[in-house]
Symmetry: C2
Subunit: 348 residues, 2 copies
């Protein structure tokens, strides 16, 4: 049994518990000699502080909780469609947490449950995390933010909406990304461009659509109303939108999808219709999850800096002074337009 406690170390080093605690926590007012002596005892005994006891004593919990939307997360994992949003989040956050002895706990939140707030309260009460990472769409949910503020739990919001400035905010410029994607197509000579929106409850959906509209307006290119398909991020939604667009009398020569799944769906339907991508139809997708690079053709896509955003969120929570900080400006991370084989000039 690894029952090495602070007492054992104190005895070994011939000092008080208090001094050991100071050394462990890099406290001030310790002689170098004393510090060395205690360190030696710690190493000899292989002492590691018990988190639960630490927490009980009144220190941090060294726990960060990441809330993810339950249904889409489980569905994506189950469908095996390769969306690796959560993996990218872990990739960014876990190593950052490790650096400072923190642990990351992934919790699934059911946004449509009446018990949502109850569940959040339970997690806060039982785990007492030092911070919470909020992902979309929860990162835009005022009532959750209210709750976190009330409970005085520091939080960082990934892809926050535009209309609430509270908390740490980490984002990418979705609007600008859509502008860049649209310009890329305009530069290639496209004028008839279709746009598939993401789920309405995600703020990014609106931002992307705005960017598209702005870029088209800038170029003096008109947008026929039927070119914009309201939809969701899902494959199924992509299928429906693709069918609608392909059925038009003058169908678009290019399509911007708001998610990789949508784009993959368009690719599938295009093939079914005998349309060649990119010869007959150019296609750009948002997010750049794995299947996109492996598809045939590989798709041009906006790469979402999910890992970098999660890392930043963890860093802000670990380093930050939490709720004492005034609302700071959002931290905007760079995205990238990855040009692959799915975008070429239109046929005529």
């Amino acid at each position: 049994m690894g029952a090495v406690t602070i007492k054992h170390v104190a005895k070994e080093a011939g000092v008080s518990l208090q001094t050991v605690s100071r050394v462990v926590n890099n406290g001030p007012n310790v002689t170098d000699a004393m510090r060395e002596r205690v360190r030696a005892a710690i190493d000899k005994l292989g002492y590691v502080p018990n988190m639960a006891a630490r927490r009980m004593g009144g220190s941090k919990s060294y726990l960060l909780v990441a809330f993810n939307d339950r249904k889409p997360t489980l569905e994506k994992w189950r469908a095996g469609r390769g969306s690796d949003w959560v993996a990218q989040m872990l990739l960014g956050a876990i190593p950052r947490c490790e650096r400072d002895g923190y642990h990351l706990l992934l919790e699934l939140l059911d946004g449509h449950s009446a018990k949502l707030h109850q569940k959040i309260d339970a997690i806060i009460s039982s785990l007492r995390p030092d911070g919470v990472i909020l992902t979309p769409p929860h990162s835009q949910d005022r009532s959750i933010i209210d709750q976190l503020e009330h409970r005085k739990v520091p939080y960082a919001r990934l892809s926050p909406g535009e209309d609430d400035e509270r908390g740490f905010r980490v984002r990418m410029d979705e609007r600008q990304a859509a502008v860049m994607a649209t310009r890329h197509l305009l530069d290639l000579g496209h004028r008839r461009i279709g746009f598939l929106t993401g789920s309405a409850e995600y703020a990014v959906s609106t931002e992307r659509l705005e960017g598209f509209r702005a870029a088209m307006a800038d170029a003096g290119a008109a947008i026929a109303p039927e070119w914009v398909r309201q939809g969701e991020f899902s494959f199924e939604s992509g299928i429906a939108s693709a069918d609608a667009l392909f059925a038009l009398r003058g169908p678009p020569t290019a399509i911007i999808a708001s998610s990789d799944e949508q784009a993959l769906a368009v690719l599938h339907r295009a093939k079914d219709m005998g349309l060649d991508v990119p010869a007959d139809l150019s296609l750009i997708s948002f997010d750049d999850t794995p299947p996109i690079a492996f598809s045939l053709p590989p798709l041009t896509a906006i790469r979402h800096p999910t890992a970098a955003m999660a890392e930043r969120a963890a860093a802000l929570l670990i380093e930050g002074h939490g709720l004492d900080m005034p609302p700071s400006p959002p931290c905007t991370l760079p995205f990238e337009l990855v040009v692959r084989g799915s975008t070429v000039p239109p046929r005529r």
Copy 2:
């Protein structure tokens, strides 16, 4: 501040702390009336026990730790190749943990680090998890098992090796899967079948190769030594093996890859060489991660029951009596041969 403690509940209900604790933990010897009274107080106050305090008091930690190999995990996430092993593990384990109020902590272990055991000790000492889920290759590491036994931490091993019977073991029949894959090709008429092995430190690599050899022997089909390529699970290894096989005077008409990445690599090289899959070359892959189903052609593959295995591991740890149990027989979960478009009869 959600400072609702057991004391508040006790006062509200007019009983002792002890009684509240009994109700919370479904202890025996409580009147129904008393139970109701306490429950009402708990609901009214929104009381949720503090985990750290619970743990300190001597109860379970309600924490399960899953150890994953650091380097391949991070590399895969970084490369964005869509291997979703970890996601599948989370998909299986997290909901199972939630059911009983447990939390799953994902920890990355550096197998090649001199401090491996130190790190494990630190995690056990600081977190005091109620159980550990071991994934390959750690699930076959005797020294880790020794350490866990010594520390008396219950553990479940995913894809354990054959030569160590300790702990809970959850596996799929890798050998049989290879047999089935091989038979599928034999049934189609293939006799010249290439086999790409996985990384040597993974027990499954050996098991799969054995299955292949056994099935071939059963069918009276000889295996030329050069058809078996020792390699790793990586894309790069797949490229090298593919090149070696394609360079043979009488190249195989079919290839079994030990991982999806290898298979994808073979597919890429085949295209480069002007070989058509499946017309010129049939291809089967192991694991069935997302890009495999989206590739062109979609690949026939052995689907690995990762999520089911993780769920079972969590269940065994949560329900199990841990180390008091005698070594039980391994729990073998069913796999599946998913036949897609990459396997057809050989040309001649």
